[in-house]
């Protein structure tokens, strides 16, 4: 990067000269020998190792890196999308150790040893996951931006119903939840589709649920 024309003034230098006199701060420094480029305080880094789509990965990351940014920016798995980045839209949904989570609301360094599945790990264009096939068949999207999150969530939702996890709409909380449309709709409420493909998404889920039943 060409740094010519920039003031090579360190924060420390400004503070020191500022303490002496405000009026003479700039001139002596500009006239002086070029100082080394300013050093920004390096953000704390941390190592983490986990598996993504079956493949072991090791990264050394700025601790602030969310799992979402680790997947997209460091591992270049851009299927997982960043929508709101605050856990409200569900576009970033991935499956970690068998459970769907918002990858934007978790730090990558907190996932030591975890097994992460993204949309790229569910299926490929040549060998699609049944849920991907059903989304195509039922037109479960328009723009497609929320789709990877919708599909990861949908796959996990069917698994949650099968495992007997109740929901807000389960009439009898002690009974096994049923594979109904109302159960699926409630459980998908953490995935927003601004194009409004909801009814087609539920149809796709219904088809996969019936095929597996």
């Amino acid at each position: 990067m060409d740094r010519s024309g920039e003031f090579d003034i360190s924060r420390r230098g400004v503070l020191i000269s500022g303490a002496a006199s405000v009026a003479v701060t700039v001139t002596p420094h500009v006239a002086a020998e070029p100082a080394p480029p300013p050093k920004e305080a390096a953000p704390p880094m941390h190592k983490v190792a986990f598996k993504v789509n079956g493949k072991p990965r090791e990264l050394e990351l700025d601790t602030r890196t969310t799992l979402l940014d680790a997947l997209r920016e460091h591992l270049h798995l851009t299927g997982t999308k960043k929508g709101c980045d605050h856990g409200q839209c569900g576009a970033c949904t991935v499956i970690v150790d068998g459970r769907r989570i918002n990858s934007c609301l978790t730090l990558a360094v907190m996932h030591e040893g975890d097994e992460i599945t993204t949309i790229e790990g569910l299926g490929t264009p040549e060998k699609m996951h049944p849920m991907q096939v059903a989304f195509v068949k039922h037109d479960g999207y328009q723009c497609g931006y929320c789709t990877p999150g919708q599909i990861c969530s949908a796959v996990a939702v069917l698994d949650e119903i099968r495992r007997g996890i109740p929901s807000h709409v389960s009439a009898d909380i002690n009974a096994r939840p049923q594979m109904t449309t109302i159960e699926m709709r409630e459980r998908m409420s953490g995935n927003i589709c601004r194009c409004g493909a909801y009814s087609n998404i539920v149809e796709a889920m219904q088809e996969v649920a019936e095929a597996k039943a």
Binding site: T63, N102, M110, E112, E160, P166, E186, G190
Partner: protein, 316 residues
């Protein structure tokens, strides 16, 4: 997000000691609330202590016939636990009424109790907020207050506690087990755990610096029919305007607690004597002294009607 250093604690006491001696340090478990706030720089901890490895993720039966719920038990797992569904259904119902499936998979029992308010003025760093910046004022008072508190409020803060789970915990007389930096442990009754805003709305509970929640205990089951009716602007994935947690016995006696009304889950035991006489009489005691704003006075009516619907269902 401000940068921070990160470490994984090996024992609960070690975690407590690190946070107690490191200014501004925070525990992180599910992270679903803390990271959201860190991205907005409402929370700016210079150091995070990850407590996820502390093996506080079991639900055990206690010798008294109750349950000890590990601090790290995820909301999904607590709601789905067969013992909870059978004997503490109001807790399952409250958990399932909150957040989304993705969030419940991450959010923890202790973290849920420690959730921060969703008051829009707390979230907007351009606004005055005594909770976010003590002494800066409260822009919510006189602002848009439809979702905010109606009782137990102060001139400094009218925020509500956002949790559904905590309302059920309050109803069930839960205990909050903790460990302090010196290794000392204690159990705080849930009734004493959350505080009212008063002049110090940035203080939300009675935990000492570094004190770590290790478990939440439930006394033995109390029977009865369990209800959690939550009224909100959407049918799913929204915070409560008003929620009613109740356990009603065959003779019409019972317990009731409200969410969405105050800085903490709202329960007044004396009001429960009125339950057999109906929602109006109960809420006259439960909400005596309420000071709603013009925007949120509807919550008083809504709370009565919601409790009325619960009592009607209990009689059916």
């Amino acid at each position: 997000m401000k940068s921070f250093s990160y470490e994984r604690a090996r024992t609960p006491a070690e975690a407590a000691a690190i946070v107690a001696r490191t200014p501004g340090a925070r525990f992180i478990a599910g992270g679903t609330n803390l990271l959201d706030l860190m991205k907005l720089q409402i929370e700016t901890p210079p150091h995070l202590v990850d407590v996820n490895g502390l093996q506080l993720d079991r639900i055990e039966t206690t010798p008294e016939g109750g349950l000890r719920i590990g601090a790290l038990v995820r909301n999904t797992d607590l709601a789905a636990d067969k013992r909870v569904r059978k004997d503490y259904a109001v807790l399952s119902r409250a958990l399932l009424a909150g957040a989304s499936g993705q969030l419940r998979n991450k959010a923890t029992t202790a973290g849920n109790l420690l959730q921060r308010t969703r008051c829009p003025y707390f979230y907007d760093t351009n606004q005055a907020c005594n909770k976010r910046k003590p002494g800066s004022g409260c822009a919510a008072i006189g602002g848009v207050s439809r979702s905010l508190g109606v009782i137990g409020t102060s001139d400094a803060c009218i925020a509500t506690h956002p949790s559904d789970m905590a309302v059920a915990m309050r109803l069930l007389d839960a205990g909050v087990e903790t460990v302090k930096a010196d290794g000392a442990t204690r159990t705080i009754p849930i009734a004493d755990f959350h505080t009212l805003p008063g002049d110090t709305p940035h203080v939300e509970n009675v935990l000492a610096p570094g004190e770590l929640i290790t478990a939440v205990t439930l006394p033995r089951p109390i029977g009865g029919r369990h209800f959690y009716h939550k009224v909100r602007d959407r049918a799913s994935y929204a915070f409560a305007l008003v929620s009613v947690a109740a356990v009603v016995q065959k003779d019409g006696s019972g317990r009731v607690a409200l969410g969405g009304m105050a800085h903490k889950p709202w329960r007044i035991e004396a009001a429960e004597e009125q339950l057999p006489k109906g929602a109006r009489r109960t809420n006259e005691v439960l909400l005596a002294g309420a000071q709603p704003t013009h925007d949120n006075a509807f919550k008083l009516t809504l709370a009565e009607r919601t409790l009325d619907s619960v009592l009607a269902e209990a009689r059916a």
